[in-house]
């Protein structure tokens, strides 16, 4: 360093403190306010419920975060969730004919979601369509495909064969709902991948500077494909969990879930200009959105007002975040 250090007279640095813990504090503050307003918030049952509801958005948000990290966007997650789920559910409900097992159905959903993601990836990477447009197209396409496939009707009747899927959606292990465990495992995997595997570091590098990544010989096209495929596959997996909970597959499922995921990722501190964002931040972002929705429900605020309130809180969170950065 050329300039002399003056660390000795540095008092407690609030800015750094808020940069590190501000998000967590916001979550705690939100929990505090809601628990003051409603004594039903801080109960084991309710918190378990919050987490269970958060797990679906949480899983989608992992993929969304990776896409946003490389300066992309995936608007198709909600529709892909629906399409992958109805295809899997249909094949499973006709299991005697098709021979599809619950495990097979999960694989099929993943395959459908991954393929949709791969098409997004090809459109973005090779045909060079802006991610917003490419995934907007997929959003409409997959929703249409889901409605067409089911004739607009929900698919039920997987009751006997779908035990494994109901397990994923509704069962508990030692009192912990399985969706929470599934989301937790995925978060740990994402954390390890993004922070401790070379490929994950390449994702950050590419988000920081795609040109430099290319000129450094990093596999930029493979990174893009990977990220979009993961986003599609995770959306499909979230759909399977949703199906397990509702015990049916809805062609209209997942509507607007892309916005919940984007909101969680961005509230969690991931930058739209790429390369900056953490898995823990995304997790907290997901929890903030979930707690907020739960709180508004507990306070029996009418649903239209809930949407208004969510919008305001998300905007405030981003303002606050920018102020302390």
């Amino acid at each position: 360093m050329t300039a002399q250090a003056v660390e000795e007279k540095r008092p407690f640095d609030w800015r750094t403190f808020f940069q590190s813990y501000g998000l967590l504090l916001s979550l705690l503050l939100l929990c505090g306010i809601i628990s003051l307003a409603s004594d039903r918030f801080l109960t084991v049952d309710n918190l378990r419920n919050v987490l269970r509801q958060a797990s679906i958005n949480g899983i989608i948000s992992i993929g969304m975060m990776m896409v946003i990290l490389i300066r992309g966007l995936d608007l198709s997650v909600g529709s892909v969730l629906a399409f992958a789920t109805v295809v899997a559910a249909d094949l499973l409900s006709r299991g005697e004919v098709t021979g599809v097992t619950p495990l097979g159905a999960i694989g099929i959903a993943g395959l459908v979601g991954g393929t949709a993601g791969m098409i997004n990836g090809i459109l973005v990477t090779w045909i060079k369509i802006p991610p917003f447009i490419a995934t907007l197209g997929m959003m409409t396409f997959a929703r249409g495909a889901a409605l067409q496939y089911t004739n607009g009707q929900p698919i039920t009747g997987m009751a006997e064969l779908g035990e494994g899927i109901r397990f994923l959606g509704s069962a508990e292990l030692n009192g912990i709902p399985v969706p929470i465990l599934a989301a937790g495992i995925l978060y740990i995997l994402a954390y390890v991948l993004l922070n401790h595997v070379p490929f994950g570091r390449y994702i950050y590098a590419m988000g920081n500077n795609e040109e430099a990544a290319y000129l450094s010989g990093l596999p930029v096209k493979r990174i893009k494909m990977f990220v979009y495929i993961v986003s599609g596959a995770l959306a499909a997996f979230a759909g399977i969990i949703l199906m397990g909970r509702l015990n049916s597959a809805q062609p209209t499922a997942g509507a607007l879930s892309e916005f919940d995921a984007i909101a969680a990722v961005v509230v969690g501190g991931t930058s739209f200009s790429g390369g900056e964002g953490t898995v823990s931040g995304t997790l907290i972002g997901v929890l903030i959105i979930a707690v907020l929705n739960n709180g508004l429900n507990l306070l029996e605020i009418p649903s239209f007002y809930q949407d208004i309130a969510s919008g305001v809180v998300i905007a405030l969170a981003l303002l606050l975040y920018r102020a302390i950065r």
Binding site: M1, T2, A3, Q4, A5, V6, E7, R10, D13, R15, T16, V192, H196, V197, P198, R201, Y202, Y204, A205, N208, N209, E211, A212, A213, Y214, L215, S216, G217, L218, P219, G275, E276
Partner: protein, 508 residues
């Protein structure tokens, strides 16, 4: 207060500014007289930008005064500075390319029309035309600025400053992307401005320019004031000594004698578009091959083509005698070719990532334990290069965007050195870098060459080309227009070839 105050235009007094962890400015005092061109010098990180940002209202000083025309003032924002008559022209120009010159000059301050809320376009263009004429600029104010040369765009920025009735214009490295002729034009216009009583603070790393244009200079080092002096009282050596804080007896490294290594890279009839035409040359182990030429002569494009960033349309590349196929950068890297690009920020750095990752990124896949990145190995590798190249950073975990330009450049060179390249290509390796760091980069290039690496250096600075290279190629309009021995050639020889005068059949 002293007696100068009446005639001093600006006085920055005892300015202090700290950022978390660094004392960026320590008791800096500097004054500017009316109608002078005042050079502000110092290595990267010396505090020039911080001082100018304080003057421009971007930062607030922790303590100290700004005395403007005899009155202590406070400047809270760039708009505030402009109201006082202080305008700053940044290195990256702030013009809107799609708008014409007139609209750019009056952007946000368009004169009102008869109907409130409308713009009186006629008056705006008339005013813009008048300002441009006064500057002696022969340009059409209705032409979008993206069609103008960089020098003309600089002058449009100046015109904008004048439309704000600026009495002091800060120019931050205005010449860094101009050709020599454009620099001359800019300088004559700067002199005309000075003669009208406008003062200019001029920041540049090119000492020749400082001597050519400045009346007085102020030198900063490590956030502190070192000297203020009329330029006539200074020599290049004293100026460098002020900046670096030690004697720099020789900027360039001595050559190591004749180059007799085997041919490591051979390029034959390489073509791409109209910027790379029939490029043929050989590079030996241990050789530093300089490529000179004007901006747009195809030098960068030639390197990009060899590296596979943009594939060649035809031609042969041989590495170590073997013909290789390079269509993508990773294929060039596999052949042991490294490429330090001209645009550090845009093409080299991962700004928000650590110095360690920036150095080790291309080796990351090997620095693993099972499948996980071995942080210890990454840090060891990075710290090895931080020590070897004397990269000034608080730690390997610092974000690379917080380093100075010279140190960032060393990080990128380190990245390529981790791969033990056989050929290292450097495009304008010292652009925007201070004298001290330049010297270190030259030394590093010579050291790599002596270890057997073949080096290609593209540079627009002729003294650098002549001082560093073992052999020089000059490009003109996509072709190699001449080959020179730098120990015998002069800058004129290179310029003659670079402007195509040799091919045209007459000499300057």
């Amino acid at each position: 207060m002293n007696q100068d105050d009446k005639q001093t235009l600006l006085r920055l007094q005892n300015i202090h500014k700290s950022f978390p962890g660094v004392h960026a400015l320590n008791d800096v005092t500097m004054s500017v007289l009316p109608g002078e061109i005042h050079g502000l010098l110092g290595e990267n990180g010396a505090g020039k930008s911080t001082l100018m940002k304080i003057l421009n209202g971007v930062y607030r000083a922790d303590s100290g005064n700004i005395v403007w025309q005899g009155n202590a003032i406070e400047i809270h924002s760039p708009q505030d500075a402009q109201r006082n008559g202080i305008s700053m022209i940044h290195q990256e120009l702030a013009l809107v390319g799609y708008l014409d010159a007139g609209k750019n000059i009056f952007l946000g301050r368009e004169p009102g029309g008869i109907i409130p809320g409308t713009i009186n376009w006629g008056r705006m263009y008339a005013d813009a035309g008048r300002i441009v004429d006064e500057l002696g600029l022969a340009i059409d104010v209705r032409r979008p600025v993206r069609f103008f040369s960089l020098a003309q765009q600089q002058m449009i920025e100046v015109a904008k400053a004048l439309s704000l009735e600026a009495r002091l214009i800060i120019m931050d490295e205005p010449t860094s992307s101009l050709t020599d002729r454009e620099v001359e034009t800019l300088f004559s216009q700067m002199r005309a401005l000075r003669d009208r009583g406008v003062s200019i603070i001029f920041i540049s790393h090119r000492l020749e320019e400082i001597f050519a244009i400045c009346d007085r200079v102020t030198v900063l080092r490590d956030g502190a004031w070192v000297a203020t002096s009329p330029i006539a009282d200074l020599t290049t050596d004293t100026l460098i000594k002020y900046m670096v804080g030690r004697e720099v007896d020789q900027i360039f490294e001595p050559r190591t004698g004749s180059i007799s290594g085997q041919v490591i890279l051979e390029v034959k009839d390489l073509n791409r578009g109209d910027r790379v035409k029939n490029i043929t040359f050989q590079l030996r182990q241990g050789e530093i091959l300089g490529i000179a030429g004007l901006v747009g002569a195809g030098r960068t494009e030639t390197l990009e083509t060899i590296f596979g960033a943009h594939p060649a349309s035809s031609g042969i590349i041989r590495v170590n005698g073997e013909q290789v196929r390079i269509r993508r950068p990773d294929q060039a890297i596999k052949q042991g070719i490294g490429f330090v690009t001209e645009d550090r920020k845009g093409q080299g750095l991962f700004p928000a990532m650590t110095v360690a990752i920036n150095i080790a990124i291309t080796r990351l896949a090997e620095l693993v334990r099972a499948v996980l990145v071995n942080r210890g190995a990454v840090n060891t590798l990075a710290e090895d290069f931080i020590a070897r190249l004397d990269i000034r950073t608080p730690s390997a975990q610092q974000k690379v965007q917080n380093l100075s330009g010279g140190n960032q450049q060393k990080v990128i060179i380190s990245r390529w050195m981790t791969l033990n390249p056989r050929v290292l290509m450097l495009d304008e390796p010292t652009r925007g870098i201070d004298v001290g760091a330049k010297h270190e980069i030259y030394r590093l290039m010579r050291q790599l060459a002596s270890e057997g690496v073949g080096i290609i250096m593209v540079s627009s600075e002729l003294p650098e080309i002549l001082g560093v290279s073992d052999r020089v190629l000059v490009m003109h309009e996509g072709r190699i227009a001449g080959e020179f021995n730098p120990q015998h050639a002069t800058q004129d020889d290179l310029m003659t070839a670079a402007t195509g005068m040799v091919q045209e059949g007459f000499r300057l």
